[in-house]
Subunit: 103 residues, 2 copies
């Protein structure tokens, strides 16, 4: 959380706190533009695994969207699996990943 506070300002910390207060949220990760988890509420191995995969997926999705409509832009990618849900919100500098329990 300190990194979120120092590098992204209090708004990022507030957003992460607000998201984590939701009972279904397992954890959040903020991934920097180099693909490394900057700050997370998950253990570092889980955070690294989710960061790699979700960032790759959001790149693939973003490229696919650009091929469908070059003026379009990815806002959110949501993966629903049998056991969990994962959401990635890409941004120029950071990607926000939220991992949730299945409701």
């Amino acid at each position: 959380m300190e990194i979120a506070q120092n590098f992204m300002g209090p708004l990022a910390t507030n957003t992460m706190t607000r998201i984590n207060e939701n009972g279904n949220v397992v954890g959040t990760i903020i991934v920097n533009c180099e693909g490394f988890p900057e700050t997370t509420t998950l253990d570092s191995l889980t955070a690294a695994t989710y960061s790699t995969h979700m960032r790759n997926l959001s790149h693939h999705a973003s490229n696919a969207l650009k091929e469908i409509d070059v003026t379009d832009e990815l806002v959110v990618l949501r993966l629903v699996s049998k056991k969990s849900e994962a959401v990635v919100a890409p941004d120029h500098e950071f990607h926000l990943i939220v991992v949730m329990r299945k409701t």
Copy 2:
């Protein structure tokens, strides 16, 4: 719709009709296991573009999930962009893709 009726039975046709009745739905596509649109309510070029990209994305997502938890399985992948939303529900034989207007 005839293909859905003949190959997938009346349930598939009912499901497609029900989905298309939703005011926000632009169109639906059923993609076979070879990646070709079997039946769609979109024009064939749009259907082919979405089929290729959404099927690829669902494969990538499925593989990523397996690397996170080998017993997990993708149920739905949802792409929200600035202009539209696209959902893919993968299955062993067919993929259902729904393209929606942004609400």
